[in-house]
């Protein structure tokens, strides 16, 4: 998809005044945030499991070549195939070739963020193959020709009225006078529409939450059951996965699964967690005849050994965006590409370049909630700060902030001058603002005061008060 991360500020400005979106975001806070807190409270071992989950991923990333080769060996031993792809283009071409090998006309898809990352739907459609999203949220946004706005709830920005409108427009073979006011009716209609598609599809594509090196299994975690129908019924099952999804053993996946659903939806365990290993066996009565894993790098291996490596622990639970005040204010589309929220603010510049997305690492108050709730303990604010620095070094920061930072740096290196100037500034501002206690506007800082007031200082600097109180006695 075409990234619009460059225009983040304009995107955000529009999102802030979109009533439907604001309503949806309010619902998200009441749902995900409250449910996660309750799930965590029910599991005293939660923090211990987070430490173990982090250790598992760190160990795997430190031995990534070993585990990927093991995974490949195990898949091959079961009669499956692993396709190594450096870029999105290589992955797209690989998938197309597999589809063409059985002359596929229609492909069903389970939810896959890698599918979004490589924009597989548009590519298949351009090559005469119809892609059908089967996750309800993905199906809705496919009908609306939109990208997902959340990594686990892709249609979180859409109201039920809008869903009904899309269904009336798309399902023209049904009675136009039917009632679609309630979620139940919408879910039933989607269920009925997609049923035949599962059975008709030639190829089913799913993502993967984990790859298991020990057994060559791929794992999907879902609630609807669409992923399982997608991978069980067609002739071919293609798994799209990025290479950092690998973990050593079934036990390791079990440990991480204990923190995944709780962090994501606040469920103890999702309805369906499926471990798939190779194609159908000779004596099996169902299952796909071919099993392919498209293993995508797309710049991830280059992060190993750098300060950005920590982002490769991400298990795509969405907790960071559910708890982010910026995501909560502007929603996912404002971020302008596939991955929104704090994890997206780190991953997007990594995958499409800091030039394309230099605003995203700045779209943070650094309140630290994302790091606090991350089940894999990824230091997201630190990683965003890294990208802020990189954007500054590359000269991507606009001239005025650059000048301000240069001035501040000059002063910060000269403590006496710094103290003298701040003392004057605080005294003047304190005197001017004493009556009202705050400023509605400050010269040269209109961008800051447009949306909030600046509190008036008390008249003395912190350092002065510190000295008067006896300092560090």
């Amino acid at each position: 998809m075409e990234a619009t991360s460059r225009t983040f500020k304009d995107n955000a400005r529009r999102a802030l005044v979109e009533p439907d979106l604001q309503q949806a975001l309010a619902r998200m806070k009441a749902g995900f945030v409250v449910n996660r807190a309750a799930a965590v409270a029910r599991l005293p071992e939660f923090d211990a499991l987070r430490d173990e989950a982090r250790a598992i991923k760190n160990h795997t990333l430190a031995h990534l070549d070993f585990y990927l080769e093991r995974f490949e060996q195990a898949v091959t031993a079961q009669g499956g195939h692993v396709h190594w792809c450096r870029t999105a283009e290589e992955a797209r071409r690989t998938i197309l070739e597999i589809c063409r090998s059985v002359d596929a006309k229609m492909v069903t898809k389970g939810k896959s963020m890698i599918g979004e990352e490589i924009a597989i739907n548009d590519y298949l459609a351009a090559n005469g193959i119809t892609p059908v999203e089967t996750d309800l949220g993905e199906y809705i946004i496919q009908l609306r020709h939109e990208p997902p706005s959340h990594i686990i709830a892709p249609a979180i920005h859409v109201t039920k009225k809008q869903v009904a409108d899309s269904f009336y427009a798309a399902h023209t073979n049904l009675d136009a006078a039917r009632k679609l006011e309630e979620p139940r009716a919408l879910v039933d209609e989607a269920r009925a529409m997609l049923r035949q598609r599962y059975l008709d599809a030639d190829v089913g594509i799913t993502g993967a939450n984990f790859l298991i090196a020990e057994t060559g299994s791929t794992v999907i975690v879902t609630n609807e059951g669409n992923g399982d129908l997608t991978q069980t019924l067609p002739k071919i099952h293609i798994v799209t996965a990025s290479l950092e999804k690998v973990v050593p053993t079934l036990e390791d996946a079990s440990t991480i699964l204990r923190v995944l659903a709780r962090s994501a939806t606040g469920q103890e365990f999702s309805a369906y967690t499926t471990f798939s290993t190779g194609p159908r066996r000779a004596e099996d009565l169902d299952g796909p005849g071919q099993f392919h894993v498209v293993l995508l790098d797309n710049g991830r291996s280059a992060l190993l050994g750098t300060e950005l490596q920590d982002i490769l622990r991400c298990i795509r639970c969405g907790a960071c965006m559910n708890h982010c005040p910026v995501y909560g204010a502007v929603g996912g589309h404002a971020y302008g590409w596939v991955y929104p929220g704090p994890m997206g603010a780190v991953l997007t510049p990594t995958l499409i370049g800091v030039e394309e997305a230099s605003d995203l690492p700045n779209a943070s108050t650094f309140c630290g909630r994302c790091e606090e709730v991350c089940p894999m303990r990824i230091p997201l604010p630190k990683l965003m700060r890294h990208y802020r620095e990189r954007a500054f070094d590359k000269g991507l920061t606009p001239p005025l902030p650059r000048l301000a930072l240069a001035l501040w740096a000059f002063l910060a290196r000269r403590p006496r001058l710094y103290q003298a100037l701040t003392a004057i500034k605080v005294r003047v501002l304190g005197a001017l603002g004493r009556k009202r206690g705050r400023f509605h506007a400050i010269p040269f800082a209109g961008g800051w005061t447009r949306h909030r007031d600046m509190p008036a200082p008390e008249g003395r600097t912190f350092q002065r008060l510190w000295d008067e109180a006896g300092g560090a006695r």
């Binding site: 809705i140 709830a153 129908l229 365990f269 290993t277």
Partner: protein
């Protein structure tokens, strides 16, 4: 594509810096053999009978329904009663496993039982369970000639016959049994309650694409459970 493979692996090895790959891999190899377990929640630290109760409690909290019967001989009656109660047809598509085929279906001649995979036309399916995990009320289903995966997902109602002696505390205990039982099957399905979605305005609806109802017939068997 093998050029891609070599290049990706080379990038990974370069990031690790200089060193002997063999020595480096030995640690990982050893860990892979050892298969260390993480923390198992203390909630499953209880006697077998209490573990079965925990499973039932957790499964019900996930909107599954559970009938407890004294022996395998009682399963056909319990299934027939459930179908009547729920106004469902007395027709079952069942897993062709010895465990299910051995049940005394002839006691309930009004029930029509056929065996095999599902083609999407069946309203009710019936399968065994390889194990069940008390920790989260989760069924562990193993694919194979005696248990086609389509039975778990296509019918509107999925009935699972679970022997109480197959209830374990943790997923890890389930994996240990599976390893003892032989090679990894094509699919292992962990099922926790019926299919659900919250994709429309965050309101939970059961029966998104998979079964609308999950009914468990729990057979008390052996060792005092």
């Amino acid at each position: 594509m093998s050029a891609a493979r070599e290049q990706i692996l080379a990038t990974i090895r370069r990031a690790r810096g200089a060193g002997d790959d063999a020595t480096f891999h030995a640690a990982a190899e050893q860990r892979l053999q050892r298969r260390p377990r993480g923390t198992i929640p203390a909630r499953v630290d209880r006697a077998p009978a209490a573990l079965v109760d925990l499973f039932v409690e957790q499964a019900r909290a996930l909107s599954a329904t559970v009938d407890r019967v004294a022996s395998a001989a009682d399963v056909p009656a319990a299934v027939a009663d459930f179908l009547a109660r729920e106004n469902l047809p007395a027709t079952l598509r069942a897993a062709p496993s010895p465990e299910i085929e051995a049940l005394p279906w002839q006691d309930r001649p009004a029930l029509t039982v056929t065996y095999g995979r599902s083609d999407g036309q069946d309203e009710v399916s019936l399968t065994p369970a390889f194990a069940a995990v008390a920790e989260t009320g989760t069924l562990m289903l193993r694919s194979g000639p005696g248990h086609p995966t389509t039975l778990n997902f296509l019918p509107d109602t999925h009935i699972v016959v679970l022997r109480a002696s197959r209830v374990v505390g943790s997923y890890e205990a389930g994996w240990a049994w599976l390893r003892d039982a032989g090679a990894m099957p094509r699919a292992v399905n962990f099922v926790s309650g019926p299919s659900r979605t919250a994709d429309i305005e965050q309101t939970i609806q059961l029966g998104a694409h998979g079964p609308r109802r999950l009914h468990i017939v729990l057979v008390e068997d052996g060792d005092g459970r």
